[in-house]
Symmetry: C4
Subunit: 371 residues, 4 copies
């Protein structure tokens, strides 16, 4: 049973822990980074690095998707983003000025089925697995276009989703039958707890996203009162993965942590809590190749009535911005922990004595008062 605390007469609550609340504890053995592997795979697709570039127009374009693939990660194009709304997305990106109103206006144009198909074609041409994201409410309408064009992985993602959505116009997308009918694997999220994770696993999803991608500009906590203490959320979802593995006699659903990760240490802790991979957004936005040009935003920023994040300027003058390669794989001369993210992860795994991601999920954790 989870630990609870009584916060008032007759009402108890669990304590949740953020990644900042914990740290890794090395064991009695250490390993050189040369004997450490960070490889993972989902369905038939293998990757050298356990990372997914988030479906944000600020970081994933057809061009940067190719570079992410070359570096060993998986990039997800936002199927409801600028590239599928506009022929000339670059022209629209140039109009963005950091104002929410501008985002709301630019994103109000409908998604074009024709562009959806064309972008999948551009992504396929780069030779890496092709992944596209839709929100649950638009999946039924839009997914067929990318499926026909040859997408490899479908990502159904909203801030907080569930396997059972009730809307004014009746039940939403039936995930179970939708997924069962597909030939490509589906990744769904975000979720925040054991039960929703388990229900989503039972829909047949190949992967479940934990968290809603909290970043510097996120206001979901302020807006809705919902917060995701990521360490607790991942550990809970890992318990769901274990129970689902048992109930199915062997189906392993991959967990992808998303939110509150900007340094190698943050990523290492998420993997230690049970993530098979992490989805990175803000952490990649300073790259010189990033279409957002040093600014970061996600899909919630353009909501027409209740925007739940701001487009934030990460404040890096152009000449100081790193390449995606330096950010992801190093080397670097920046000691902040925000570059050479997976060189750092490899070292963290080695110093803690582990050589594979799966073993690393057992590393000892310690709760600290933060620093």
């Amino acid at each position: 049973m989870p630990e609870t605390v009584e916060i008032g007469l007759g009402r108890s609550a669990r304590r949740g822990f953020h990644l900042d609340d914990i740290a890794l504890v090395p064991t009695r053995r250490t390993r050189g980074s040369g004997v450490v592997s960070t490889a993972w795979q989902i369905d038939a697709h293998s990757f050298e690095l356990p990372f997914v570039a988030a479906p944000s127009d600020a970081i994933v374009s057809p061009a940067t998707a190719a570079e992410v693939g070359r570096l060993g990660g998986l990039a997800v194009l936002d199927g409801e983003g600028l590239w599928t709304r506009y022929e000339d997305a670059d022209a629209e990106l140039a109009k963005l000025d950091g104002e929410t109103q501008t985002l709301q206006r630019v994103y109000s144009r409908p998604v074009s089925p024709e562009l959806l198909a064309r972008r999948v074609g551009e992504l396929r041409a780069a030779g890496h697995p092709v992944a596209v994201r839709f929100s649950p409410q638009h999946t039924a309408d839009l997914a067929p276009h990318v499926l026909a064009a040859g997408v490899d992985l479908l990502v159904l993602q909203g801030t907080i989703i569930s396997a059972e959505h009730v809307a004014a116009d009746g039940p939403g997308l039936n995930l179970k039958t939708f997924i069962a009918d597909l030939d490509v694997p589906v990744i769904v999220g975000g979720v925040t707890n054991y039960q929703t994770a388990l229900h989503l696993m039972r829909t047949g999803a190949a992967g479940v996203i934990v968290g809603y991608g909290a970043h510097l500009g996120s206001t979901t906590h302020s807006m809705l009162g919902i917060d995701v203490p990521m360490a607790t959320a991942l550990i809970d979802a890992a318990a769901a993965r274990r129970d689902y593995l048992d109930e199915t006699g062997g189906r392993y659903v991959h967990l992808i942590g998303y939110g509150d990760m900007v340094t190698g240490g943050d990523i290492a802790k998420a993997l230690a809590c049970g993530a098979d991979a992490v989805m990175l957004g803000q952490a990649l936005a300073t790259a010189v190749e990033a279409p957002g040009n040093g600014r970061y935003w996600d899909a919630t920023a353009a909501h027409p009535r209740v925007p739940r994040s701001a487009a934030i300027d990460l404040g890096h003058a152009e000449h100081e911005r790193p390449t995606l390669e330096e950010l992801v794989a190093g080397p670097t001369s920046d000691p902040s922990g925000e570059r050479n993210l997976f060189g750092a992860v490899r070292r963290a795994m080695g110093k803690c004595g582990y050589s594979t991601l799966k073993e690393f999920q057992k590393v000892e954790l310690i709760v600290t008062s933060g620093r």
Copy 2:
């Protein structure tokens, strides 16, 4: 029994939790905001939105009261404020400069019974329920004037009140007999704990206010050492409501949370802790219609000897200030969480899987280390 901690030899204390210390946990079901209702009612009066505009001259004038009513909330005019002390309250508002001394001077003029009656008339003319607030010490003298003029709800409110007050000149107002003799429902507060809440319920009050309206300029904690961890206070008062419901075989007393709420998330958490509605002060003070013109203060700010809050300038230049409608019901282009407050609440309820306020009081809570 509540959780306690020993803070010194032989002396224990409970732990109290602020709204900032907790967050909401979504369940396995989600709902579209179209199937969510935020309606509530007190006595014979129904409201679309679970909110009460606080009796502060900075936000409630006869004019803004009408707008609050139109938006679906309940506005409370301060019966001891400028509109009942001065014929031309606007002229006095124009004199305020943020200095406590000025407040003390302007509020030193006596309340006029004639103006009390006239303001009730102005409020009635707008066609919404009319509510007026008095401090417990002046209720006996002043309330008859508004009752005669046709007030719908009486609000008896001080920083911290009890059902049993002892003063130098004998016992104060006997709430029980006072309320029993009235035809209109009475809301009383603020209270901070189970026992005082229960005693006030037993006086026959229709609603109990929890908290003293802590805002950015409040210094009650510094001044008096009294603090109200709102999550704990509301949960405790909800326990009193439950026990009183049982002891009376069905009298349901409404709880109104007051203090520390400036965002939709804060409000959602207060409702989740058991509030039937929230009383908002500072959160509405930036509205273009607000008489305080971007400045906020409450009744404690003008105390002649021990002022317990400052008139704070919320720092919004006129052209950036939202309308009351944008603040309360949206839409908005401000992602801070401080606008479209009840659009956000509706979404929070939906994402957590609830369709009515009463059900939402059961949502799972999690204690986080704050953000």
Copy 3:
């Protein structure tokens, strides 16, 4: 048994609580401030207000001591301060520039027995009880001079003292025999825990000071690693007072809290934790009458080798500085909580339902996450 936490294998520690960690909880009854008494007495001396002005040259001169007495408090002159080292103390005060080096130099002049006697005479002339402070190491040499001159209360005070001091040149002052031989009551401190408090009570002291007067400029925690969580320290000392009362069949030793108090709320909490009175230093230093002219320091600031606090400038331009009377008894137009300190305490007692200090020591406390 006190609550402990294991901080490492085989090593446990108690948790200590600062005044900032707790708050007062009102009960079901409230009282008007007219029916509240803040009077206390020590030995044959009665005071209207439960406060002692700390023996700091920044606040207590013969002149301000008279004003403190008039307001109902007790002022303690530092027997090792400027007034007993210099004929013209004002001239030396004018030389102070906030530099520790200057303090070290000015305080290096020896104390004059002749001036000690003269200052006691000046204090007596004002007609209030006369109290002088010495450090334990100089008490044997210097105390006879003030005793002969007619001091009413002797204060033996160092940062941290004990009933059993071992020095290179043998045991220090034997407090037990020293106190037994005296005709005037003695107040000793500071202490931080149950056991030292009990031992000091057994020396025959009339009062025990809890804490070392931590203020904005204090560095004792940084320097020595010693900290005094004041709520815990006072509650522990109150337990010692209770046990000593029992073992002596009725000797009540007064507790004086000293440190971390700048607002009425801080003082109210200290009294709630068991203090019979509080010793105030920094809180009085902004007074126009204060000899430190807006700057505050205590005796540790002038130590020749290991100074443990800085002379801090409280940053109040002369024209904004309050009188001692406004600070202590009000009224005030400053809502910060730092003025009308005992008007606030009286109100805190009333709102919590208590009419005497002794009863107020039973008020319910709550642990909050601070604000």
Copy 4:
């Protein structure tokens, strides 16, 4: 069994405490600093002060090593630093500009065996014990040169090391056989927990370093997710020392705390948690004699691919910088706690009632909410 908390379903973690989380509690006895001894010894070498100057080029040169020895401490020269890479190290120091890139370039030159021997000679000439540090990976190659030149103590130190390292090219240095074959005592570290400490003790090490020297510019936590709550780490290592003492029937291995210590209070707390001595880096870098000229960095700052700390400028203009003697032994006119470090430690021990370091390891600790 250590205290644990469940951070998610089925996954528990201990709580770790930083030095900032705790404070010392004085006992019923106090001692003058004249009767307090801070002496310690390791193997045949005795020291007046329990401190080791860290192997950072910013603080230890052959010249400052002599001064550290004169003051009663032990200085460790970095065997892989500038003095053993360059004939004219001062010329290279002058090139450093605070940029990591510059550090990476300057430190890319190979270590010279000839210079290693020459520096040991220079250190021997000063007449104090000679200590040199190597990283575990280069010890086998480089140590023979300093052993031949007459080093007294060998320090094998990396961020996090273990007794069992696995690298791509096979197992690393076998510490057990390496140490057994040596005539000089070996100090190894850093470690973070009981088990690694115990394993390193079993290699025959004379001393074990706890922590990786966290300082203002450290980013190991951000980079790797590894943090060392120093109070917990020292107490755990002290438990290992006790168990090893028992299993060997009397071999006492010295613990040297390293990291997060900049004030006398920090050092006193580390000693209280079981350290026999502390290794100081940043705390000494402001000395006028320091080769880093007010800037501090450690070996991790120059890593070619994953630098894990920055060279930080401690911001002291030359004329304000203290001497090493003022920093270490006082007297001082600086009340910050950062000067006269061991004068402060001596006072802390005295005020807590202890006269030797070994006894002081039993002082009572209290967990505070920090200040």
